[in-house]
């Protein structure tokens, strides 16, 4: 117990030391102050941001979250539908799976400019882009899941007189929800990153836009501050999803 406490404080010391060195390096201009800022500046900026001194910061964060959420929902709906269709029709799976695999290999981040070109700087544009990443994650999660459902179990259920509807409701739907929960963390880390990325590329609102404008005016405190906020949000979302995942898996035998 005491050792654990010691290690935790060592972690804390390490983090504090990092900030002290950073402050010193920025102040003494060891590295160019323009490029690394100082923690004091960054925290002041974050304070301004949250109190609304800087143009209403919370609405930028809300925009980003909205884009990520809409994109996640759209991508999941499309991904699951395609997975059910393709996994259900064997011929279709044999026909198109190599193409799906190839499409999945495309560095999807690189498609961002195409979405910007087609849909402008709208929230919908970002949501579409986010969904183009999520769709593959949910597709593969559900497709592989559907394929791994035990045939013998399905045969049993059928012999015992289950209707098609009953099978869908009691076997397939819970299974699909289970795989979606398993892929939640991955989907969300990509959703947030993709939303901010495409905002940074071209936008007039959202956290990515703040980063971009900070970079344009060579304001390191803004760039680093905005990224820190995104990082904290991402970590909080991830922690929340870990809870959801644990909750959902509670009833399952280990």
């Amino acid at each position: 117990m005491r050792k654990r406490w010691l290690n935790r404080s060592a972690t804390l010391v390490l983090v504090v030391a990092f900030f002290v060195v950073w402050q010193y390096a920025g102040q003494a201009n060891v590295a160019n102050k323009l490029t690394i800022g100082t923690p004091a500046e960054v925290f002041r900026w974050i304070g301004d941001w949250s109190s609304g001194t800087y143009t209403d910061g919370w609405s930028d964060l809300w925009t980003t979250l909205q884009e990520a959420l809409l994109g996640y929902l759209l991508g999941t709906v499309v991904g699951v539908s395609l997975a059910v269709l393709i996994a259900g029709v064997d011929v279709l799976a044999r026909l198109v799976m190599p193409f799906v695999a190839a499409a999945n290999a495309v560095p999807k981040i690189a498609m961002a400019p195409l979405f910007v070109l087609a849909f402008g700087t709208t929230v919908a544009c970002k949501a579409y882009f986010v969904s183009s990443l999520v769709v593959f994650i949910s597709f593969f999660a559900v497709f592989n899941g559907l394929r791994s459902i035990n045939r013998r179990y399905l045969d049993h259920v059928q012999i015992l007189g289950a209707s098609r509807w009953w099978t869908v409701r009691e076997v397939y739907v819970p299974a699909i929800v289970g795989w979606l929960i398993t892929s939640l963390r991955l989907s969300w880390s990509w959703s947030l990153a993709a939303a901010v990325f495409v905002e940074y590329l071209s936008s007039n609102e959202g956290m990515g836009h703040i980063v971009q404008s900070g970079q344009e005016s060579l304001d390191a405190a803004t760039v680093i501050g905005a990224l820190m906020i995104i990082a904290v949000v991402a970590v909080c979302v991830d922690a929340g999803l870990v809870l959801v995942e644990r909750r959902a898996k509670e009833w399952r035998p280990a």
């Binding site: 654990r4 290690n7 972690t11 490029t35 064997d90 290999a105 690189a110 400019p113 590329l201 390191a220």
Partner: protein
């Protein structure tokens, strides 16, 4: 009974033919849809435009220079990312205390979307190779480290104790136990890590770099040329698929000696 019929349909030449037909139909539909303006031309362009764009990019040599730059960044970034991740992963895998101390920091870093660090790196280093390589390393290092650490911890403790008893020192252990264990993981995860590295490379080139496939895409965006964007995306996809196939082959070779489980 239906599966046997499917197996016959879904095998060899018939399947290949069906897939080719599918591609032809899709491309033809795409062309017709573009000509008749059924679809958003800013997004879909058209196959003929994409083909022309591909031709002119390749003829001017821009495409090949970009491809070369991307491959160089990818290769250097991947190697450095693996090395950094291995060093960190072995360190926290072997030392419980170190893991307790910096573990929380690594878990935190793992939850941060690291591709977003690029603006900071660009502010530090400008638009040369450095920020791109650094981004690839940043994207990879946590993933590699966490997995290597898990692999190191899974090494059979009895084996280590046996070697210790027989007089092996720390170096012997690294050389004969941990290195082989870890190299197996590096091989089997190469396809995933190279995929990450390629995303990071092209992502970094998109954001104002002067070379690479990503910068060609970004030029396409600025000049409203969706045909150029799609052409370069196809090249990027071809690069990704061929690297993946190459690694899959290498992986099969590398694990051939292993007993099948």
């Amino acid at each position: 009974m239906s599966t046997t019929r499917l197996n016959r349909v879904g095998s060899g030449w018939a399947l290949l033919l069906a897939r080719t037909a599918l591609v032809v139909v899709v491309v033809a539909l795409w062309q017709v849809a573009a000509d008749q303006e059924w679809v958003n031309a800013n997004f879909f362009s058209s196959p003929s435009d994409v083909w022309h764009s591909l031709g002119s990019l390749s003829a001017s040599g821009d495409l090949w220079r970009a491809l070369e730059s991307t491959v160089v960044v990818l290769a250097i970034g991947w190697v450095l990312g693996e090395l950094a991740g291995l060093a960190l992963g072995i360190a926290i895998g072997l030392s419980k205390r170190l893991n307790d101390i910096i573990g929380p920091i690594i878990v935190f870093a793992n939850a941060v979307p690291r591709i977003l660090l690029l603006p900071i790196f660009v502010v530090w280093y400008g638009f040369g190779y450095e920020p791109k390589v650094l981004l690839v390393v940043a994207v990879m290092v946590v993933f590699v480290a966490l997995n290597v650490a898990a692999g190191v911890r899974e090494v059979d403790g009895l084996l280590v104790q046996n070697m210790r008893v027989h007089g092996a020192n720390a170096f012997d252990l690294l050389r004969h136990v941990f290195f082989p264990a870890v190299s197996l993981w590096v091989t089997s995860s190469a396809r995933v890590t190279v995929g990450y590295a390629l995303q990071a490379t092209i992502g970094s080139e998109l954001l104002g770099a002067e070379s690479g496939l990503g910068s060609l895409i970004s030029h396409g965006q600025v000049s409203f040329r969706s045909d150029q964007i799609i052409a370069v995306l196809l090249v990027a996809a071809a690069l990704a698929v061929s690297v993946d196939l190459l690694l899959a082959t290498l992986e099969r070779r590398a694990v051939r000696w292993m007993p099948k489980t």
